[in-house]
Symmetry: C2
Subunit: 349 residues, 2 copies
Amino acid sequence: MSTDNLLTTLNLTCPIVQAPMAGGATTPKLIAAVSNFGGLGSLGAGMTAPDTINEQINQIKALTDKPFAVNLMVLSAAESTTFDTSMPDWLSGYYQKASIEPVLADKPAQLFDEQFQVLLDNPVAVASFTFGIISQAQVDVLHAVGTKVVGTANHPLEAKAWADIGADAVCVQGAEAGGHRGGWLAQSEQDPMGLLVLISQTKAITDVPLIAAGGIMTADAIKAVQTAGAALAQMGTVFLTTTESGISATYKSELLKVANGQRDGRTRLTRLFSGKQARGLVNDYLEQFAAYDNTSLPAYPQLNAMTKPMRAAAAQASNPEYMSLWAGQGVSQVQALSVHELMTQLTGV
Amino acid sequence: MSTDNLLTTLNLTCPIVQAPMAGGATTPKLIAAVSNFGGLGSLGAGMTAPDTINEQINQIKALTDKPFAVNLMVLSAAESTTFDTSMPDWLSGYYQKASIEPVLADKPAQLFDEQFQVLLDNPVAVASFTFGIISQAQVDVLHAVGTKVVGTANHPLEAKAWADIGADAVCVQGAEAGGHRGGWLAQSEQDPMGLLVLISQTKAITDVPLIAAGGIMTADAIKAVQTAGAALAQMGTVFLTTTESGISATYKSELLKVANGQRDGRTRLTRLFSGKQARGLVNDYLEQFAAYDNTSLPAYPQLNAMTKPMRAAAAQASNPEYMSLWAGQGVSQVQALSVHELMTQLTGV
């Protein structure tokens, strides 16, 4: 029976994990600010080249001596290196109409094994994983370099699988959560569980310490998930609008518009951007191609790579309607604050 | 600023509301057992004829002198009395293939005004409402006969609307909840909010006391929603498998099979049974006609009346695959217990 949790073993002074958000949101400054406050900052490194991950780890270490996490996306070498399917017609049609040349990267995603090696060469306090599960041997080598291991689950069986290979904690991510869902079993996609249900059913089958994620925006919500049985609360969307966040001005502005009542805060779980379920603000792209969301789409990371030229062109043009505006259901409660101001509010310090 | 809540004004001794579940689940015995324990039992009377509602109220009053609630579905006279659309082809085709004569009732639903009159003639402690909102005048006449008024909301704006007309409390029903969703705004259907998010965003715009519903199955979950800011926890699915529940043996058996790992516990929000979003166990009917779920379907109560002959025939044949097996996402935690045993467990008495 595990009785400790990351709060105690890492000497965190507040029960807040800043969610790893790949794509540039989680700057070294953001992560260090969270960890220096006493929470656990996390680098969303899943889409980052190994050398850059190493550099960013060094940058964070220069800004804080407190523990922080690095998050990777578990993908096979085959998934990451080969375009094994062609672009859907509706997407080719979009590129043609928008006069954008869909130049694809040389490979759909970074190589997981190379990213993982960085964590062995330049160890961090916590390594967390999404999109799949690693092997027991990989957990063991991380433990051997002094790194705690955190898995991600959208379903109790995924949490159990992580517990069974010795994960130190599991992030249970409810359907409310923004961005990509971290699970991999079919059950995760077919009936996305609300956070409270997920905590309750996970506790019924494993005693691994839980980090609760999904729609948590306030001090009361943090206390609520702790009461439900989670050790820590993981929050993503609420950090996107902080001063230290690395998202584009366009993206940040759309999130704050929701909070100000200037934009519809409706979110949707969609596979249209990447091939894998993720929650974001409904925009023109999601509305225009909604009919294709439940069709057979190229899987992650294939479709993600295929929509990248579109997203890049939209970002370049400051056009939020063809960018991925990842956000959780709690988005209407974002605020423009520094990390210190936000965490002071969340912890009632 | 309202500071009291139903817990104090009704002298409840435990923070549990047994959800109103129309269709026979909420027997007078079940309701009285909940209220006698110190919670708030609720009669799901939305689909019941006025005379029968009156009789059932008398039966409950004979079994308990404690407060209980009666729940009605807010429908217009036009919606309730006229079949204004024809049966979808796929459903006609099903009836033909199954050799079932789809004999429709003389009207799609009971008349709300006649049901409402019963609550004035034979007053109860609490009147609760789903599917729509009543008028301020109707709230006033209920108050005049000593009845507290509870609305149902799936979206913060619906809760606000109930608060604005003087409701004494609002049941905020998260996406996790089984059975029909009680809201009526387009936002409720487009982005069904998880319970914690719904509580948090509702508290941000109104101080009306909240009853939290959706996936709550355990003592810890009750405490969690109270920590999040709800006054009471409303639970439905967990009462369906009690000894006092009035659901069919077939339905009860399928729910318990999920808890025993003998049936997939996957649920789905679907409009295929009634025209209005409701959550139930995935069965052959939902799989077979899944492609029609997001098409233009006859609205509630039209489609509900049209699928009734199918559901009745399936119930007659003890065939769960063409019955509506309403259940929340917490369904895997149901137990075969008496109400007294269940509530003892939930309250730690």
